[in-house]
Amino acid sequence: MDLVLSKEAINNIVGVLDEDLLRAGADCALLVDRSGNLIVTRGDPANLDVVALAALSAANFGATSEIAKLIGEDDFALLFHKGKNENIHFTKVGKGFILITLFGKDVSLGLIRLKTAKVTDQLIPILTGEQ
């Protein structure tokens, strides 16, 4: 069950996040696993406690999956929280990972949705070692 990622795999993930999310205007993109480990952080999270964000996001996602089960859903594929200036978007990546995207009010949610869907498809083979 342990995850080991090579330098190449990490570089590939970094490339995907930079290319699709940061270039689209996201402030920050993080990949975490569902036990709360922080796998990759991109963007400028200067004042952001990314380790705590990873742990809390994993827990939040876990709690939300339980809610999904209660209402007869398997899981929710994404979560979105809207703030005054900053928004946060969570996407499920495969069974074991979560992609977290932070973006400001000048970036549209539609664009982020489109990009995260694309990123998710690219990340799964890297994370499962099929690339």
């Binding site: 342990d2 995850l3 990622l5 090579s6 709360g36 796998i39 380790v51 705590a52």
Partner: protein, 203 residues
């Protein structure tokens, strides 16, 4: 689930403090937090606390230096001990690499300790983890109450109740005063990292 990042030569593992309500899990983390320098520990996150009862979890990330070439990062979590929060405990237990079971030395908590250990065994089994296989350390907490007028369990009795079959390392402690806190942490870290690297080598 541990995560090994070969681009940074870093391993991240998850250690969960488990045990009956009010046993001293949060107090263990608070002690570690205040005793360690900022270079070693990150920010402690305590969410959803009602009085001093944990409702979701506490979280404390530590950077424990290097073993051979590998930087060791350990994330400490506590679960809510109260019986009714089992769904939350399962959630926090997800991907666990090592467990500290904090048992309460108060005589009145004798059964609660056993129940909580059984609950741990069951919750791990649901995730296909055998309690006999995962790194596990017991802490018999609140030993400072020995000699007060509050009846406490003898260490022999706690060993008999909790560790008879498991035969795992155990420590007496007083999380409130800090006794045994680092001994417990050191042992679980050592065992967890060893198990993770064993799995890594056998890949």
């Amino acid at each position: 689930m541990s995560f090994i990042d070969l681009s940074k030569n870093e391993v991240q593992c998850k250690v969960v403090y488990y045990g009956p309500g009010r046993g001293g899990k949060t107090t263990n983390l608070l002690y570690v937090h205040q005793a360690m320098t900022e270079a070693v520990r990150g920010k402690m996150v305590t969410i959803d606390t009602k009085g001093d009862r944990t409702l979701f979890f506490d979280f404390l990330p530590l950077a424990l230096g290097k073993i051979q070439n590998l930087s060791i990062k350990i994330q400490l979590y506590t679960v809510p001990g109260q019986v009714m929060y089992n769904a939350t405990r399962k959630l926090v237990l997800k991907g666990v690499d090592g467990v500290v079971f904090v048992a309460d030395s108060l005589k009145v908590q004798k059964e609660k300790n056993v129940e909580s250990l059984d609950n741990l065994r069951q919750n791990l089994a649901e995730d296909n983890i055998d309690i006999g296989e995962i790194p596990l350390v017991l802490q018999y907490n609140k030993r400072d109450l020995g000699g007060s007028n509050i009846p406490i369990l003898s260490v022999e009795e706690m060993e008999e109740d909790l560790n008879n079959r498991l035969q795992v390392p155990w420590f007496t402690g007083s999380a409130l005063k800090g006794d045994g806190v680092f001994e417990t942490l050191r042992e679980i870290s050592k065992r967890t990292v060893k198990q993770v690297s064993r799995k890594l080598l056998s890949r």
